[in-house]
């Protein structure tokens, strides 16, 4: 059985004449928490869109959980979970109704039990029958995570997961990401521009610059190559901004 969770080869995407992603070659092993760093517009969200089959590549291909995003997108979708940036979910439905909806779309068997287990795992019980219109941003984000892991995907994609959260929310989310990786065995692919998130949660990182992957290494190697407290910032600034 392959130990590779994500493998991209020459993955590209253009919007008209603009090349958002240029020939991405990337490998993420199973069990990793991978952080993709980059400036705004570097191609991070496009990469996630392509790997989650929401966009079709204009060139190249990728496999996620062993399935090709081009030839077998449906199988990819059965194996992934996804939390977009600033997701609001359905305001006029309760948390339970939202979770049941997304759980059913993913074909979860024993849904009621799975929802209870998931909410206990996220330490977020007691709000099941409240409508989401009454939820804070942090609470919505936890419902967003719950829907993404209900079907126990093998690869979980998080797009700027801490965007707009308060410091306590960021801390809780970081701990949750680590637990989803260690306790549920999920490979996690995370887009972020917050360096602190990467050092505290990721096992390896990649840096995108103008649609090209300019750096990829395990976190420990990065820290060794760029020693010092500001090491990641150094990596980010020296590699990511050269032609910015």
């Amino acid at each position: 059985m392959s130990t590779i969770a994500i493998a991209a080869r020459g993955l590209s995407r253009s919007y008209g004449t603009s090349n958002a992603l240029k020939g991405l070659d990337l490998t993420v092993d199973q069990g990793e928490v991978f952080g993709l760093l980059g400036h705004n517009g570097a191609g991070k969200t496009t990469t996630v869109m392509l790997l989650t089959t929401l966009l079709e590549p204009t060139a190249g291909t990728a496999t996620v959980a062993g399935f090709d995003v081009r030839s077998d997108p449906r199988s990819v979708r059965t194996k992934i979970g996804y939390l977009p940036e600033n997701v609001r979910l359905y305001d006029n439905m309760t948390m339970l109704e939202n979770l049941k909806f997304f759980g059913r779309l993913s074909g979860v068997v024993g849904l009621d039990t799975r929802i209870s287990e998931t909410l206990e795992f996220l330490e977020f019980t007691g709000h099941e029958n409240k409508r989401l219109s009454t939820f804070s941003k942090g609470m919505r984000q936890r419902v967003g995570i719950a829907q993404a892991i209900l079907h126990r995907p093998s690869v979980l994609f998080l797009d700027e997961p801490t965007s707009g959260l308060d410091p306590q929310g960021v801390k809780t989310l970081r701990e949750t990401i680590v637990r989803m990786n260690t306790d549920l065995g999920m490979t996690i692919f995370m887009n972020t521009h917050l360096l602190s998130e990467v050092t505290k949660t990721c096992t390896s990182i990649g840096v995108l610059r103008n649609g090209e992957l300019v750096y990829q290494a395990p976190l420990a190697d990065t820290l060794a190559t760029f020693p010092g407290e500001d090491s990641l910032e150094q990596v980010y600034l020296t590699i990511g901004s050269e032609t910015h």
């Binding site: 989650t52 089959t53 929401l54 966009l55 449906r74 979708r77 059965t78 992934i80 996804y82 977009p84 600033n86 997701v87 609001r88 979910l89 359905y90 305001d91 006029n92 439905m93 109704e97 909806f101 997304f102 059913r104 779309l105 993913s106 074909g107 829907q147 993404a148 994609f157």
Partner: protein
């Protein structure tokens, strides 16, 4: 199949909780309830006018309303389907599409093993089920009010005709739900999304019939379909644009079902036009590309 049913179920749930279509639904049901009373009042007056004309010795013609079907009391319902029903259906369709774009949930759904066609078909059928419920309430309202007005329970044939009327009405309105959904998916702002199906409705209900019949726009609010004008230009226009005048076709089809004048042969064309309108609108909806379903809403 499971996915389709899930989408249908949740579409019904959210449609029932959406305040905007719900407000229009209340107006629609209120007017349906009022329409029988208006129909009865008008019928009473027309009969009295005829009796007066007869008493004054001004006519020897037979009363055009003697022995008319009790379903005639529903004639105003026809126009409310075209006016309020179509608007309700369009707004419900627009909201169904905008909901996922506003809440950023389209990406969540499409990153699951759900096909675009399955997702959109589920939403359309969910809206259709909700709409069928609204129309069923309307049908029962009509049945009860006609029974009360005539003083006797409407016979099963009358009841069946009411159901058939709402059946074709459902098909007619589903065309507007699809139109609203397409607009909700393709427009960049909520106002544009709401306005475009209303504009298309205005063209189909007012402009197209005017070109074929020379009827003035306000007279097209009458439940009786406008007869085509005799001029060569109008007959030409009527031949070309006639099939697009879905509002007039709905009046003709309803007139046959409610026993208010049209023959089966004339009405059959109108039935066909309504069904084709709904099918084309649904086909345009289901052909929406995946990327359009995911497109962001501005404003």
């Amino acid at each position: 199949m499971g996915t389709l049913i899930t989408v249908i179920r949740y579409e019904i749930l959210t449609a029932m909780r959406d305040r905007l279509p719900r407000t229009l639904m209340i107006v629609f049901l209120g007017m349906i309830a009022a329409s029988s009373i208006i129909g009865w009042l008008t019928n009473q007056t027309v009969t009295a006018v005829y009796n007066q004309v007869l008493a004054d010795g001004l006519t020897t013609a037979a009363n055009p309303f003697s022995g008319v079907s009790p379903l005639r009391y529903m004639s105003n319902t026809v126009i409310y389907m075209i006016l309020i029903g179509a608007l309700l259906a369009s707004v419900a369709g627009v909201q169904a599409s905008l909901r996922d774009r506003k809440m950023n949930t389209a990406d969540l759904i499409l990153s699951r093993p759900v096909s675009t066609v399955g997702f959109l078909a589920g939403k359309l059928l969910g809206q259709g089920t909700w709409l069928a419920g609204v129309l069923l309430v309307s049908a029962v309202t009509n049945w009860i009010s006609i029974s009360v007005i005539t003083g006797s329970v409407l016979d099963p044939t009358g009841g069946a005709k009411i159901l058939l009327f709402y059946g074709i009405g459902w098909v007619f309105l589903m065309g507007f739900v699809s139109l609203g959904m397409v607009s909700g998916l393709r427009s960049t702002t909520e106002a544009t999304a709401l306005l475009i199906p209303i504009l298309i409705w205005a063209v189909l209900v007012f402009v197209v019939p005017q070109l074929g019949t020379a009827a003035h726009p306000v007279s097209l609010l009458n439940p009786v379909a406008a007869p085509p004008s005799q001029g060569g230009f109008f007959q030409l226009m009527n031949n070309f644009l006639g099939p697009l005048a879905v509002g007039e076709h709905f009046k003709t089809a309803s007139s046959f079902l409610l026993d208010t004048g049209q023959t089966a042969s004339i009405a059959s064309l109108s039935f066909a036009v309504i069904v084709i309108f709904a099918l084309v609108a649904a086909a345009v909806l289901l052909a929406t590309p995946r990327n359009t379903v995911r497109s962001a809403l501005h404003e």
